[in-house]
Amino acid sequence: MIAESGHYALVLALGLALIQSTVPILGARWRDVALMNVARSTAIAQLLFVAASFAALVTLHVSSDFSVVNVVENSHSMKPLLYKITGVWGNHEGSMLLWVSILALFGGLVAIFGNNLPISLRAHVLAVQAWIASAFYLFILLTSNPFLRIANPPMEGRDLNPVLQDIGLAVHPPMLYLGYVGFSISFSFAIAALIEGRIDAAWARWVRPWTLIAWIFLTTGIAMGSYWAYYSLGWGGWWFWDPVENASLMPWLAGTALLHSLVVMEKRNALKVWTILLSILAFSLSLLGTFLVRSGVLTSVHAFANDPRRGVFILLILCVFIGGSLSLYVFRASSLKQGGLFAPISREGALVLNNLLLTTACATVFVGTLYPLALEVMTGEKISVGAPFFNLTFGPLFVPLLIALPFGPLLAWKRGDLLGAAQRLTVAGVVALIGLALVMAWTFGGSTLAPLAVGLALFVIVGALVDIVERIGLFRLPLGIAAGRARGLPRSAWGTMLAHAGVGIALIGIVCETSWNSENIRTMKPGDVTNIAGYGLKLESVTPRQGPNYREMAAKFSVLVGGRVIATMLPSKRNFTTRSATTTEAALLSRGASQLYISLGDIAPDGSVAVRIYHKPLVLLIWFGPVLMALGGVLSLSDRRLRVGAPKPAKSYRGLQAAE
């Protein structure tokens, strides 16, 4: 019964979405308030039905109902409860249901918190949301129904892929989807603006919090995924330039550009046409990501061709939405009014440069991700585009971006003073040079690129601080006054500082990990001691253990510093019986921001173990940086100016500008 109810709720949600996608638009045409308000109630009802459907699937998984195909294929009665729940979205059908649930959630939030939106704008936004939702409901119901029953229910399920039986699955996909799908709101706002043919600074204020929410989740989602890969794959890599990772990086780059262009639009009423395009692109890239991951095209172009239903359906959705929105853009964008003027050297100019470099970097990732697919489809030639390609393209484009980054917040709107900004950044430059010299001296004879990159990162971090220091008059005014000013400073300024500093911090982590990583791969027997980066590691024992749905061989290492044991590390090798698959559980020991990392290879019959030991200096900064960026986003979001309830309608935007 639960499966059927879940299925039925999903069908009802589709029905509601179809109503929501048409009636409000007609209402806006006829200026009928009642019809326009249908959008609000249907959006909320839709959310309730999808939530019911999702809850049904979770219930089926938790109760191990093996009469449902999805549960049989991805669950096991002995699986821990957490993985029974997360297993819901550890498969194609369930993850698509999560996708539409989050879409409905965002639609419902706009309906609930969008009271201050002009009613026709809200009607249009929710209608566009419903177009997307309808397409994906149809996709699930026609090609990926998670509620299918099985004729002869087996006694036991086939268990979830062991690699996915990790806390990472509980956090990473939902975060990532909140980010991907969150961009649907800015997309819907953009389409609504194009349909209405009207856009102004207030529009940017309404869109910015939603974009910011999506961006925060996408940032943490990507960082979380990277850390998951790092500790679960057993060889300490944290970014692979794998197409699926690139699929999440592209919307992030476009979304970051969008966040910045929205600032220009909100404050200066400029870059309107460009901002609309970016809103469309950010969500289009999210859709592309969904297509790449969900169609199977990455696993094999041939698998895609052999079972084309799902792939073709998503491709169709992709074409309709991207093609449709871009055509609408081409036809309507020219009718939008031009915005304010600004000199090339100005805050606007800096943000345009930011946008230019971010979107170009995004384009290189796009080429590197899709070119191999295109080449294989056209010529059958197989190539792999890996890290070297992206280091040679993405890297050089990010360098000018990082150099320009501290200048942006120091330039005035409309017409900036580059020399003045440079003078104020002297401190940052000096710190960067000192850092560069110190690192250079310390690693004498090593690569010169790495110390330069550390210098650049310091420049970015100190540059981000300089803006705040200047604005609150720290070191210049008495401490009390500075503290008062600090409290008075808008939270979004603190947010900017944190996010920008986060970029520099992540860069330091990346440079240190890639340049000064030590590795020690060898076979050890119990009692053996090996050294890495000043630590001694003694293999104490290798013992078998039994887990809930696996068996494992666990090794015990003592970590020695100067002959004294400071910690023990317990890496293991797990064998999952149901799928007869093996996973490697690495052991990590954090020392400050650096980590020791041990993972096990083969265990020979004579008791000797192949081990892989890494010392990764400052590796944690790689993820601490994005966390800071996300925190900066949260702070900006809590800024009074941006609260979802705060924006005023268009007529008063002149007044809003004066307040800046």
Partner: protein
């Protein structure tokens, strides 16, 4: 500054950045793209020693020899040709004789493929995509190899975690 001048500057700047990006992409395409070959294709193409490529095929049963210091030697075959491979390091969990493998590296002067990376996927009967496609083309495909396609697509957005295990 007039609107027109401003626009010219922005357009000029954008074109310049795009031009640089295009140059970077083309340059990187020339130097850093790695082609995929099976032993048969490698023999036909006469790949010169030192040129990096990805070698894919089946680990020949009985060919795996383990030496000291985690040195291993094995042969990769595709049904018609075999190529000896040498590697030092820890092999991935799913490296087995008779199963698919992808190794990245280059041939040395004596015709041995020196691998610096060996990839295998996490599912026990998984066949790396490139290997499967190549075997299909050459008519050495067995249906049970394909059984794992569905599973390895399971991780939403976490390619790395769901997808790839590599040994360096």
């Amino acid at each position: 500054m007039t609107r027109k001048q401003r626009r010219l500057i922005i357009i000029g700047g954008s074109l310049a950045v795009l031009g640089v990006a295009a140059a970077l992409v083309l340059n990187a395409m020339r130097d850093s793209i790695v082609f995929f070959s099976t032993p048969k294709m490698a023999a036909e193409k006469h790949i010169p020693p030192g040129k990096r490529f990805r070698l894919g095929g089946l680990v020949q049963p009985g060919s795996l020899v383990r030496g000291d210091n985690l040195k291993v030697k094995f042969e990769v075959g595709d049904g018609s040709n075999e190529l000896p491979v040498s590697y030092q390091g820890i092999l991935p969990d799913l490296f087995r004789e008779g199963q698919g493998v992808v190794a990245e590296g280059a041939l040395d002067a004596s015709g041995v493929f020196k691998a610096d990376t060996v990839l295998a996927k996490h599912d026990e009967n998984y066949m790396p995509k490139d290997v499967a496609d190549a075997l299909k083309k050459q008519g050495h495909w067995k249906d049970e190899y394909g059984a794992a396609y569905k599973v390895n697509n399971a991780a939403p957005g976490s390619a790395a975690a769901g997808g790839k295990e590599a040994a360096r």
